[in-house]
């Protein structure tokens, strides 16, 4: 069965009232990277996933999960 990485980036970002560019600045990546992760097009590296989770003050598991 195909597995993919689900994420709560958009929900957490919008809950904080941040734009994609604001989140990108906090993480130190481009807006495009945030956009492609949010839309499930791009699976981030462990380093970027940790940085994003750190920006939200969450754990990686709270932000990303495996969907079947």
């Amino acid at each position: 069965m195909a597995e993919h990485l689900a994420n709560r980036l958009k929900a957490e970002r919008e809950a904080r009232g941040w734009t994609q560019a604001e989140l990108a600045a906090r993480v130190g990546v481009s807006r495009k990277t945030i956009n492609t992760i949010e839309n499930g097009v791009f699976v981030p590296s462990t380093i970027t996933a940790l940085k994003i989770a750190g920006a939200f003050g969450l754990s990686v598991e709270q932000l990303f999960s495996i969907a079947r």
Binding site: A25, R31, N35
Partner: protein
Amino acid sequence: MRNVADVEKAERLGRSRSRVFFMMALVFLLQQSVYFSAPSARDNSQFRIGAWLILVALMLLLIGTGGFLLKGWKVLDLLNDEASRHNRLKSQAFGFWGAMAAAITIYLTAIYQPVDLKLALHVIVTGGIGVALLSFAALERRAYRLG
């Protein structure tokens, strides 16, 4: 942590880069179409051979570095971040398959008629570089437009 202005600047540069890659692909393919359609363009003049080699080297540098001309910009790390590097690797893989498709086409053609070696190499290089440039431009444009 970066500031939003840097992120927005990288965004503008990245969008421009995807347009430049698209235009470079068109220029390269147009230049190659002249070579294929006009027999006079296939003479062995050193100028023509040198110009083509320089053009190919420039295109390969673009594909290999994601825009070496942007070196020195302080937002280069944002411009060439993880998603861009991923798209570049994907486009290089597409370029490889483009070159392989061109090579197999020439091989099949050569069964029925002789194919000039220089012409065959032009076709393979054009297939590889053209597909890589176009696919990088397409992947980047798609990444900016999502959402």
